[in-house]
């Protein structure tokens, strides 16, 4: 995807110098391997700061919420779906945006690669179509790129932007997957006690830093339920019930809206696979209402509408 870099810069330069947009939002090259920094550029002479590689897993739609200006934004498939969601939810207007669509090859999973390296530290990571080449002091390892995609990218079926003004390259071939929910199904098959124990263990490292919530473009409420004091819905300590309540409600607020962009999981500083919660909701919303979030700009989200013949077997 490195070939996108020059194109992004060219487009950004053109948009800014022709005064088509006020700013361009994209990524700056990371200061450490397998990271990148969201950046906003407002002068044509600064466009060379923009960069693109396999580490642009943060969802840039997060930076659009309620912006008043005209914005050029680089968008992967998932980002573009969140832009749609933002438009549907009145967080941004289509007219304000110039969407630079990035057909995506999938982002690489930094935390899984670091875990695989044990305690060896990579100082350089080069990614090509097939391999991730990791080097560091006394370290040289190669990983199969497809095996080390972010989990959400591995099961992504919308790598191409669903909405854009310009594409950085021809659309990539979408993945044909037989089952994108194997991880969820594995949990669904457990007994209630095993499920409870599984999530107890999964959530134990949580430090309530809210990186998962804050990395999510869907989480833009002026006051989040965890911050409400009157009434206080959930305690603020790391008591396991409070931690679980937070994660349950955070996920539930994303129901019918989540594009599985993976920003939450990528942001977590203690490697909690928080997507296992949102993905269950995605699966149910797909099964029950045939809905995939962020695909069409003028369709209300599934929990904001109903059909009289919706499945209702669970109601006595």
């Amino acid at each position: 995807m490195l070939e996108y870099v020059d194109k992004i810069r060219d487009i950004a330069r053109r948009l800014l110098s022709e005064n088509k947009v006020d700013v361009v939002i994209g990524f700056r090259q990371g200061s450490v391997p397998m990271m990148s920094e969201p950046a906003v550029i407002s002068r044509p002479e600064d466009v060379d700061e923009l960069y693109w590689d396999y580490n642009c897993g943060i969802n840039l739609t997060n930076y659009l919420t309620k912006r008043p200006d005209r914005i050029g934004i680089v968008a992967k498939g998932c980002d573009s779906r969140n832009i749609v969601t933002h438009m549907v939810e009145n967080q941004i207007k289509r007219e304000q945006l110039y969407i630079i669509g990035a057909p995506c090859h999938g982002m690489i999973d930094r935390s899984r690669i670091l875990a695989a390296l044990g305690d060896q530290e990579p100082t350089k990571v080069v990614v090509n179509d097939s391999e991730i080449v990791v080097t560091g002091p006394g370290l040289e390892r190669k990983f199969d790129r497809k095996e080390y995609l972010q989990n959400n990218c591995a099961t992504c079926i919308h790598r191409n932007p669903v909405i854009y003004d310009e594409l950085l390259a021809a659309p990539v071939e979408e993945q044909k997957l037989t089952n994108r929910y194997a991880d969820v199904e594995k949990i669904e098959a457990m007994s209630p006690d095993d499920k409870w124990a599984f999530f107890d263990k999964m959530l134990a490292p949580c430090i309530r830093c809210y990186a998962c919530r804050n990395a999510c473009p869907l989480c833009y409420c002026p006051t989040c339920f965890v911050d409400e004091a009157r009434p206080q819905w959930v305690g603020k300590s790391i008591d396991p019930t409070d931690v679980r309540t937070f994660h349950f409600l955070r996920a539930y607020h994303c129901a019918g809206r989540c594009t599985d962009c993976g920003a939450c999981e990528r942001a977590c500083p203690v490697n909690i696979p928080v997507r296992l919660l949102t993905k269950k909701l995605n699966k149910d919303v797909e099964d029950l209402y045939g809905f995939e979030p962020g695909m069409v700009p003028d369709v209300r989200p599934p929990l904001d509408v109903y059909r009289p013949d919706d499945p209702g077997g669970f109601i006595k």
Partner: protein
């Protein structure tokens, strides 16, 4: 003070003898991460290791801690009276923490244990905990400890410093607490001059391998000019206002106090808090003096790199452990911010 050798083959004897007088904590594997946890034998230790994901601070300052308890039962004569929660403070030793973390603890001491007020839980745990540091022969690429007044073999805050030699650890006691621990421990042998020489060489090599960030100019900058600098807008853009940096940071000490009630009794609990959260400074009236992200991001960096220096004539309140550099989801790199601040042109002096 004194130095002894602990042969790697005798490390189990050493740890076993510590266990008779102390609870022993050390870096252990916890899922994908390395964290401080109970250690019974060498095999429990995650050695070799770079650093723990979370810093040492929770050993003295748990993320959530019960401060007080009370009854709310009207029948109870003590209803409504807030009382100290009894706690135990066993003697503990932390084996193998990194010197930057120990240095950080001394920076937090300035806040928690000052001439006017002493945080009783912090002070008690500090008194009853002995710190055996493990020098860093191979610092990470994100480490910049020597730039921040610490170093891979910094002795500040440690009671004992270990240097790993090919088949042994050279253990140097640095305080009476450390001296006593080494005296009572088993598995130690007299240090040889050759061992000490090797250790000194390892130290120099590690120090030289670390990058050097310039920080000398921070203390002479004008605080208000730095505060008003335009670069904060650029620094803050990517920030998502999560608390990852502050919670992983060994020198971030902010906390919140909450009352929690269960049936007819309750607890007053303190929890780590973060200057990244809007709620941190929100007034009851709805007014928020740090309403904007840029104000919160600036507060974090200014506190560590300017306010602390100006207030205490010490610091900065950063030890260069690099945790925030590694964990920030959006790659805001404190090293870049330090350079921006250090290079910013202001008129001299902190006061106008």
């Amino acid at each position: 003070m004194t130095s002894v050798i602990i042969a790697k083959s005798k490390l189990n004897d050493f740890l076993a003898s510590l266990k008779s007088g102390y609870q022993v904590l050390g870096p252990i594997h916890q899922g994908d991460m390395i964290a401080f946890g109970p250690v019974n034998k060498v095999e429990d230790l995650a050695l070799p290791y770079s650093n723990t994901r979370l810093s040492i601070k929770s050993v003295f300052f748990p993320q959530s801690e019960r401060m007080f308890g009370y009854s709310l039962d009207k029948e109870d004569a003590d209803a409504g009276i807030i009382k100290e929660t009894p706690k135990e403070y066993p003697n503990r030793v932390v084996f193998g923490l990194r010197p930057c973390d120990a240095k950080a603890v001394t920076l937090v001491d300035v806040n928690m244990d000052n001439p006017q007020y002493q945080d009783p839980w912090w002070v008690k745990r500090r008194e009853t905990t002995t710190l055996i540091g493990l020098g860093c022969e191979h610092p990470c690429s994100t480490c910049f400890c020597t730039s921040m007044g610490s170093g891979p073999f910094d002795e500040t805050g440690l009671d004992v410093l270990l240097t790993e030699l090919p088949d042994a650890y050279l253990a140097k006691s640095l305080t009476p607490k450390g001296e006593q621990l080494l005296k009572q421990a088993k598995g130690t042998d007299a240090a040889s001059p050759a061992g000490e020489k090797t250790a000194a060489e390892i130290k120099t090599k590690a120090e030289q391998a670390l990058p050097k960030l310039e920080t000398a100019k921070l203390k002479d900058k004008n605080m208000m000019e730095l505060f008003n600098a335009r670069f904060w807008e650029r620094v803050q853009f990517a920030c998502i206002n999560c608390g990852a940096c502050t919670f992983l940071c060994p020198t971030c000490w902010c906390f919140d106090i909450q009352d929690e009630v269960s049936k007819k009794a309750g607890d007053r609990i303190r929890n780590w808090d973060s200057c990244m959260f809007p709620l941190f400074t929100l007034h009851g009236t709805g007014h928020n003096p740090r309403d904007h992200k840029v104000q919160r991001v600036r507060q974090r960096f200014m506190h560590k790199l300017k306010y602390y220096i100006d207030k205490y004539g010490d610091g900065p309140a950063c030890v260069g452990c690099g945790r925030c550099v590694q964990a920030c989801p959006v790659n805001i790199d404190i090293r870049n911010v330090i350079t921006l601040m250090n290079e910013y042109q202001t008129s001299a002096g902190t006061k106008a």
